[in-house]
């Protein structure tokens, strides 16, 4: 009788007994992510489920990530198969207006410059001793694009998925903090004051409908390995622009995107088990991810300065910082910085053009990277 009671009581304290030193730390990290999402408003749609997932998976003996645990089932069904990031991309395409980019196609090049951090960070990760595919997955944090980072990391470095996705989403939400000092450091006051005028409306509906088709076909032919990423974002955009499938468009940008965001977030959080997550490698990945986004901003602004010279002063170099995929935060940062030095300056639509260019650019950079890897026989 007494043995049975003691056995029963032991069952109630087994969770505490099995607690690894890393679990409380990761529960605190989960709480910190919840704080950032709820109190500070940094990407709450993602940080709240990620933070909660991190807490769940660090409570011992729950079996949530065991073979038949519910988080394992969600993770294997949606993340390892890459379905979740691709479905998110359909929603992103359905929410994005590429009009400002189409008004001034040259701005597309800023979306390319804003991805240079990916490749420079990849080289740095290699120099630090990471394997080739690990370095690719770390570099892609610089895409500043969560779904792309998850897509690449889940395929080629699943053991880094937690660190890569947390870095990608956290730094994406910290763009308003990270970018302004770099922008100020690299530009003069006169450059920040350049007025680019108003964006003239010059894009027909037909152009907007044909655009996603052209990007899919040309981009797919150049970098076929990245077509799932490119194709899904462009499918979403085609549905939005054609106007013929408004039910599907609304579902993509609302219900599907919301459900997938929840499942994706919680399963990413579930990869943050203390024993696997807390190591020096994770800290290096987080540091390299930060560097990648800083380098993106540096390259974007420097390219903006080149465009300023080529256009004889018509381009404000600040819009180069918006050539990353953090949409629309980055464009808003540019607008705010521009108005700070010239209150009459409205850079928002120009920056939106660069920002949507950055969205396509980040996907294209990942697609190019995967196709180059395939060409070299690495994957």
């Amino acid at each position: 009788m007494l043995d049975a009671i003691l056995g029963g009581l032991q069952g109630l304290i087994a969770g505490f007994a099995q607690l690894h030193w890393s679990n409380p730390i990761m529960i605190a990290v989960g709480c910190a992510l919840l704080y950032l999402g709820i109190k500070k408003g940094f990407e709450p749609l993602l940080l709240v489920p990620i933070g909660f997932g991190a807490i769940l998976v660090n409570i011992p003996l729950t079996g949530l990530m065991d073979k038949e645990g519910f988080l394992r089932i969600i993770y294997e069904a949606g993340v390892l198969t890459e379905i979740f990031p691709l479905l998110i991309f359909v929603g992103i395409g359905a929410m994005t207006d590429f009009g400002p980019l189409l008004e001034n196609p040259k701005i597309f090049l800023l979306g390319a410059a804003g991805q240079f951090g990916i490749f420079l960070t990849l080289a740095l990760a290699l120099a630090l001793g990471f394997s080739k595919l690990d370095a690719v997955s770390i570099g892609v944090i610089g895409a500043c694009d969560g779904p792309t980072a998850i897509y690449v990391a889940s395929q080629y470095a699943p053991h880094l998925l937690g660190a890569v996705s947390v870095a990608a989403y956290s730094y994406m939400s910290l763009v308003p903090v990270i970018q302004p000092p770099i922008m100020r450091l690299l530009t003069t006051k006169e450059e920040r004051m350049i007025d680019m005028g108003m964006v003239k409306k010059s894009v027909s509906k037909t152009t907007k409908i044909v655009f996603p088709l052209v990007v899919t076909i040309i981009g797919g032919l150049i970098a076929p390995k990245g077509l799932p990423l490119l194709g899904t974002i462009m499918l979403g955009n085609l549905m939005k622009e054609c106007g013929a499938v408004s039910r599907l468009t609304k579902a993509s940008e609302n219900e599907i995107a919301n459900i997938v965001t929840l499942l994706l977030g919680i399963s990413i959080g579930a990869t943050m088990a203390g024993k696997d997550f807390l190591n020096s490698k994770t800290l290096i990945v987080l540091a390299l991810g930060f560097l990648a986004i800083c380098l993106d901003t540096v390259c974007g602004v420097l390219f903006g300065k080149v465009m300023k010279v080529v256009t004889k002063g018509k381009v404000n170099p600040l819009i180069g910082a918006a050539g990353i995929s953090a949409y629309p935060m980055s464009a808003r940062v540019v607008q705010k910085e521009g108005q700070r030095y010239n209150p009459k300056n409205f850079l928002l639509m120009h920056a939106m053009g660069a920002n949507t260019g950055g969205q396509v650019g980040s996907v294209m950079a990942a697609a190019v990277m995967l196709s180059v890897l395939k060409g070299m026989g690495i994957i």
Binding site: L101, L102, P105, K106, F108, L109, G111, A112, A113, Q115, F116, I118, F119, L120, L122, A123, L126, A127, K132, A135, V136, K201, S202, V203, S204, K205, T206, T207, V210, F211, V214, V215, I218, G219, I222, A223, G357, V360, G361, M364, A365, V368, M369, S371, V372, M376, I378
Partner: protein, 44 residues
């Protein structure tokens, strides 16, 4: 033969960055052509 990290890194930087710029430049050309083929009309 296994490619060394140095060659791999340089290849990725050069071909990756160059490939991204080239692809987006080609896309920007197509966008300019699209705007000419389907010009904006005021009534839109």
């Amino acid at each position: 033969m296994e490619m060394d990290n140095w060659t791999f890194g340089i290849t990725m930087v050069v071909v990756g960055m160059g490939g991204t710029v080239l692809t987006l430049w080609i896309l920007s050309l197509f966008m300019s052509i699209l705007k000419r083929i389907f010009p904006y009309k005021e009534e839109q």
